[in-house]
Amino acid sequence: MLKNLKEWILVFLIIGAIMMVGNWVGYDVMPLDSIPGLAALIGISLAGLIIHRLLPFQIPSIAYIGIIGLVLTLPGVPGSEQIVAWTAQVNLLAIATPILAYAGVSIGRSWYDFVQLGWKTIVVGMFVLLGTFLGSALIAEVVLRMQGII
C-alpha cells in the first residue's frame, strides 16, 4: 500500500505537470495559478484510490473520487468555496488532452486487431455508440422538458 502510494504520487506529479503546461499553452492560465487547483484535484483522486483500496465494497474507485469531489464542494462545507475557486483555474479541456494523448499511445497496440475487423463491425460499432449517446440525450430531453427545466 505504501509503495503503491509513493508510485501514485509520483505519477500524479508528472500528469499534473503535463496538465499544468497544457493549461498554460492552450488556455493562458499561468502555472502558479493552476497549481492549487491541480493539487486539490490530485488530492481528491488519491483519496478516492486509497478509500477504494481500504473499503471492501465492489464500487469502482472513480465513484469514490467523484463523490469526494462533490461532497467537498457542497455549499456550506468549510473550505468549499476555496476548492471551487482553485479548481476553476484548471480548464476541463486541459485535463482531457493528456488523457487522450496517453490513450492514443496505448491504442497503437490494438491497431492491428482493429484493421482485422470487417466493415460490418465498423458500421455496427458506429451505431452502437450513436445509439447509446442519442438514446440517453433523447430521454434526458423529454424528462427535462416535462419538468420545465429547459
Binding site: 483522486s45 478516492g48 484510490l49 469531489g69 440525450a137 433523447l138
Partner: protein, 274 residues
C-alpha cells in the same frame, strides 16, 4: 490496476512524448468545420489521440510505452473525475432538480440495442451481434460476456470486436459526433451533457469536450451534469447490462433473426438456441 503502476513514473520517454503532444495540440487550438446547419469541432484532444496513435508506428514510441500508457489513462481519468466532482458540488440543487432526467437517461444506454441490433442482424451478423450491441462493450461488459458465454463463443467474439473498435475508434468517433449533434439537433446541450456518461472515461472526455467548447457559458453546468451522469453509469452500468441490457438483446435478437429467417426461407443462417 494499482499493481501495474509500479515504475510507471520512470517511463520518461512516454511522459515526454505526451508532453510534446500536449504542447503541439494545445498550440494548434480549436478549429471548427461548418457542416450544414451544424458544426464539427476539432479539439486538441482529438489531434492528441490521433498523433499518439500515429507515433506508435514511429521509433519514438515502443511497445513498452504503449503498455505503460494504459494504466496512465486510468490515473489521468481519475483527475478528470475529480474535476467532475468539484463542478457537481456547487450545482447540487440543480442536480437534484434534474434528478429524474439524470436517472432515467441511463435507460437511454439501451438505445444501442434498438438502433444497432437490427442493423447488425440486417447485415447478416449472427449471434456475434448479441455481444456487439448489448452495451458499448467496455471492460466490464467484456467480463460479463466472457463469464456468461466464454470468449471464444460467437457472443464473446462479438463483444471482443466491439471492445477493439471502441478502444481505437470510440473517442475519435464520439468526439466528432457530440459537437455536431448538439449543434444540428434541437436537443438541449444539457441533455447531451447527461448523455456523456457512457461508461468509459476517455469517451466521456471526448464527448464533453466539444459541448464545453461549443457552449462556453454553460461549461460548469455541462461538466457537473456530465460528471453525475458518469458517476451513475459507473455504479449502475454493469447491473443495467446484467438485468436489462443483455436479456433484452437476446430476446430481440431471437425475434429479429426469426423474422429474417421467415423471409429468407431455406437459408443456412439458422442458429440453434443453446
Amino acid at each position: 490496476m494499482a499493481e501495474q503502476t509500479q515504475k510507471l513514473w520512470k517511463d520518461w520517454r512516454l511522459h515526454l512524448v505526451v508532453l510534446a503532444i500536449v504542447i503541439v495540440t494545445e498550440s494548434i487550438g480549436v478549429h471548427s468545420i461548418p457542416l450544414g446547419p451544424g458544426v464539427i469541432l476539432l479539439l486538441p484532444m482529438l489531434y492528441a489521440v490521433i498523433i499518439g496513435l500515429a507515433l506508435y508506428f514511429t521509433p519514438l514510441v515502443k511497445e513498452k510505452q504503449s503498455i505503460n500508457a494504459e494504466p496512465l489513462v486510468f490515473l489521468s481519468v481519475s483527475v478528470l473525475i475529480a474535476k467532475f466532482g468539484v463542478n457537481a458540488g456547487p450545482a447540487i440543487s440543480q442536480i437534484i432538480e434534474a434528478g429524474p432526467a439524470l436517472l432515467l437517461q441511463e435507460l437511454g444506454n439501451l438505445g444501442t440495442i434498438f438502433l444497432a441490433l437490427p442493423i447488425a442482424v440486417f447485415l447478416g451478423i449472427k449471434r456475434e451481434s448479441i455481444g456487439m450491441t448489448h452495451s458499448i462493450g467496455r471492460e466490464a461488459n467484456l467480463a460479463l460476456i466472457t463469464d456468461k458465454f466464454g470468449l471464444s463463443s460467437p457472443e464473446g467474439r462479438g463483444v471482443m470486436a466491439m471492445y477493439i473498435f471502441g478502444t481505437v475508434f470510440g473517442s475519435i468517433f464520439i468526439g466528432l459526433i457530440s459537437g455536431f449533434l448538439a449543434t444540428v439537433t434541437p436537443l438541449h446541450p444539457l441533455s447531451f451533457a447527461m448523455a456523456t456518461g457512457v461508461g468509459s472515461g476517455s469517451m466521456a472526455a471526448a464527448a464533453l469536450g466539444p459541448l464545453v467548447a461549443a457552449y462556453p457559458d454553460m461549461s460548469e453546468q455541462l461538466t457537473a451534469f456530465s460528471g453525475v451522469s458518469n458517476l451513475i453509469s459507473s455504479v449502475t452500468g454493469l447491473y443495467m447490462s446484467i438485468f436489462v441490457g443483455l436479456p433484452v438483446t437476446i430476446k430481440l435478437y431471437e425475434i429479429l433473426s426469426r423474422r429474417k429467417e421467415a423471409k429468407v426461407k431455406g437459408s443456412v443462417g439458422y442458429v440453434k438456441k443453446p
